[in-house]
Symmetry: D2
Subunit: 332 residues, 4 copies
């Protein structure tokens, strides 16, 4: 449901135009210095509003710590963080309700929750929910110690120069998709498990929780499907497992091999495009033309890197804590 | 670890050259007719040995039901199914041990399990473990009722004619990757949850549990990242949620929208290529050339469709059972 | 950790003297009418302050809904509820810190969390955390429909007249333990599973989460251990499973049999007794006499019935939702 | 369902008169010496057949290792263990089917599984399923290192001399209940979590999975409910947390405090008593007198200590592995 993780667990809640969004983080080790200043830089990156192509809607996004911190340190108890919603314009959305927006969750939410869903601005399906994830990610980054995570936009609208791809969208007055690449350095060998808790499984599970994500690939990914084995295999060249190439993206048999973790995520164009679209009006049972009101990102991929980093950090924090059990292995 | 699912749960176990592989299926509804004849067709598809490019190693792969079936019907108790290992040639592997094979889990298994891992033929990391998954999949297919799942190879070695791509590999005496497409018809609206239990998250989690899988995309997937929103959005054209196009692959906001579920999986080339390769010899600490002994598939993608179908069925069976709770919604 | 439930899930957080306590409820069906007036009666029962023997500390305990409710109804999204802490006197506790209080979690919390725990008033171990549980319980009671839960104090300080047992404690100026009996009527047949998800297992798991609970017994419980089989067995007397006696407390083989669910819970005396006690002073490494400052309940059992009801409702809500899958059984 | 544990996980399966019973153990550390000789002593204790009052039915109960062991050591992969059923007399049970036996799961199983349950000898509800648990327990005991677990019968039929209580049952030709006490020595400080993963919660969850268990109490248990706080509190007398008394049974706030873990379990009399009983005949809808055929234990409590030890070891093994994460705490 709205929980991820086994030992480092995040629970998210909230709605786009409700009172708040937030996160409860359970299982965070005690003794870490955590306060607003730790969280604000990543939250700022998520907000957008500065870059071209991102929406000017700016909530303060100021984290309110409600539990789990004492004297500026984590206590080992659950950390609840709230974000009050501000600057919402619900009137933008209510008139729209009779027409489920293409690409959005309006239709499925209505069917699944029987009309009781909070439909304002996507409600619980809104990307605003990622605020809590980003906050949890900043804390998770502290848990994974020396490993460093960096995600960046490597393509927008098919252009490897993101600036150029974005300009295409601005010119076309249309939203546009993009590709994020994430790289984790200094990954310990041995994280993950064979089969269902493979690192690929856990990362993909987390990453696909973001509705705009429609593809995930590790290392050479889909290109690997076009290679011969002799090209794709990574020769091991030293006892630390360093490989000559890194087509595997740092993972063999579901387990980290000590090389950089590398993966890419396909972000679809924002469903809220300024372009006129067609959809069914439920009330009149006719197809109507309409255009989305309100201010929306042309390219949600621009805000996505910090979310990708956060989810990656959350997965790795869990695996780091799980890995501690490995110290008990091999003894009789 | 080796468990997947919340209500329909599979637990796998076994090693390539140990005594057996198998599966325990917990949470299967009572009253379903399940016997060997239900399982054998899918098991036969997984075995290969007939098609060009698959290994001639042929275990009998005969399912031994050890619990959970009574008078030919499921009882509601866990169903344990065993497959005895036969026709194994352990001697092919022992001599290899000092050189961790590129692309395989040899190196990480050794680091993670401290040398206690069963290294024969990949041990617990072997694709032989998918035997149990395929058996569970055949049972899961009964649980999901009218929904039909069909996976097929759509590309080998970059060729959209799989036959042609395979011939390239045979000519090159090298293994080769491929792409599988899976389509599920007659999917009920409303399966899945927002965020962490999105249908994409659950399917990707299951699919990436197969070590050879390096990429998963839904609907237009990575192509969506290159589109404008007005191109990618699927207009809803009737009250059942039918859409004009299906770029979303049947999923909005993580929830099935009633259209066909469509996704593709990138399968890397088999790590066991007949080509000569290089890797580190742990004992001598020198780089050695070697070639893999034993009989191996040139293209594991050829066997993969039935495994992809099985994992898809397992995920959907779980979601079907979870969906029953929806009937309790909307009442006060 | 701080989560309970599979389909109806509660996550609790907070500290006694931190900013707040609260709960996130995930998996609650959509469409239920939930507001403050639903929650306040049970919250009032938990607060105490009126009855003899309960502490006069009175937080407002007013539930602040932060998500998951829209137009007065549940939406199917997580319901976050906060309670601000007020009326706390932290100075009562800080001076105490060098002496871990007998019966409290002071010692183990310090060892487990390395001194980073919030030690004020028991911190995260405080009974104040049950506020969120009681709120979740009031909502869970709506989910279980016609089943009714009633818990009451049946014994205090060994006296079957609770009033008399409490007077003994008041006279002795000491805290005192008690026994709660809980009875659930109109329980559907078939809730629970054999073995690890037996109704006894799930209820005991939830009930023992309250630190003051030191014993749980179902039906005849410990008395059954002193009976012959012919005395203890409950003869079935009609096709609905009605039994002549109810020594089993409504559960056979871990599964509800349609009779009343009956169980008892042993509540130890409050560890905070006004009596002088001895414990180790960590700073001086000497045994010291001291008495607990602050205002505390003489008999926490008096507040416990509503908490027992809440936990019972939470367990049953989960089983009710799980039971929906049963409708899919027996079909081929 | 049929799974217990988070890091050290057991999955049980099988039926009393089906082909086999067994267990899959996932998450066991690699490198432990595990073979038949490790398991047989505990399996022998479970079998009974030697002591007065236990049934002479003797399956060989020989453990067949099917995976997870290589060169006599655990590999870190799942360990599957099978026990073939032998010496079963199904004919004893079939004639009985129209009369659900009082105290047994016959009635609820039929309702829950719609008549598809394996009804022979209790099917999946049979105590024979504990064979797998005992095997898992013997392995778990290796994981918990220096901690030692000892359970013993301390009361039968209300007599503190078990021999005398059993004789009463033999004389009465009736089954009889009993009480087991379990003590764990050398328990590390800090196992368990506040609230839902308290040591009491986890142990009670595991122990109540055995259908014959109807009560569990820790330390003074129900007696604590009759005490004053000044009597029940355990004074801490040294920096290791040693307490003067041990009314808490070694647990404060849900967490082990370093003292012996002490708890008692109420075992009801075997439902299969030789005495004549009454129950409803489903076919004729009349109350009938009948007596149970077959050979059954007069006092199942006699076999229970080894099962109690096994479940305790399984819970503690999980907590030991979880505790490894504690090493990561307190660092920034």
């Amino acid at each position: 449901m709205n929980t991820f993780g086994r030992l480092f667990r995040v629970h998210i809640f909230g709605e786009s135009h409700g009172e708040s969004v937030g996160v409860v983080i359970d299982g965070c080790p005690a003794g870490l210095t955590v306060d607003e200043t730790l969280l604000l830089p990543d939250l700022e990156r998520r907000k957008g509003g500065i870059q071209k192509g991102t929406t000017p809607r700016k909530e303060a996004d100021f984290p309110l710590f409600k539990s789990g911190i004492f004297n500026g340190k984590t206590t080992g108890a659950p950390i609840a963080i709230f974000f009050e919603n501000q600057n919402t314009r619900s009137e933008d959305y209510t008139s729209q309700r009779s027409i489920p927006r293409p690409g959005h969750a309006d239709f499925v939410a209505n069917k699944k929750f029987g009309g009781y869903e909070d439909y304002r601005g996507g409600g619980h399906f809104s990307a605003r929910l990622t605020t809590g994830l980003v906050a949890a990610g900043s804390i998770a980054k502290k848990v994974i110690g020396p490993s460093s995570i960096e995600a960046q936009v490597i393509e927008i609208g098919g252009e490897s120069d993101p600036e150029k791809g974005l300009q295409k969208a601005i010119n076309a007055k249309d939203s546009v998709g993009g590709i994020i690449e994430c790289r984790v350095k200094q990954v310990p060998i041995g994280l993950g498990e064979p089969f269902f808790d493979s690192v690929e499984s856990l990362l993909a599970h987390a990453l696909f929780s973001i509705p705009a994500v429609k593809g995930v690939e590790f290392g050479s990914g889909f290109d690997a499907a076009r290679m011969f084995g002799s090209e794709n295999n990574d020769s091991i060249i030293d006892p630390n497992g360093t490989t000559k190439s890194n087509h595997a993206g740092g993972i063999n048999g579901g387990i980290t091999n000590g090389n950089d973790l590398v993966f890419r995520i396909a972000i679809k164009p924002a469903s809220s495009t300024p372009k006129e679209q067609e959809s069914l009006n439920w009330d009149t049972n006719t197809i109507e033309s309409f255009s989305i009101k309100g201010r929306h990102d042309l390219c949600v991929a621009l805000r996505a890197p910090v979310i990708v980093e956060a989810l990656t950090a959350i997965v790795l924090a869990d695996l780091f804590l799980l890995d501690q059990q490995a110290q008990r292995r091999h003894t009789d």
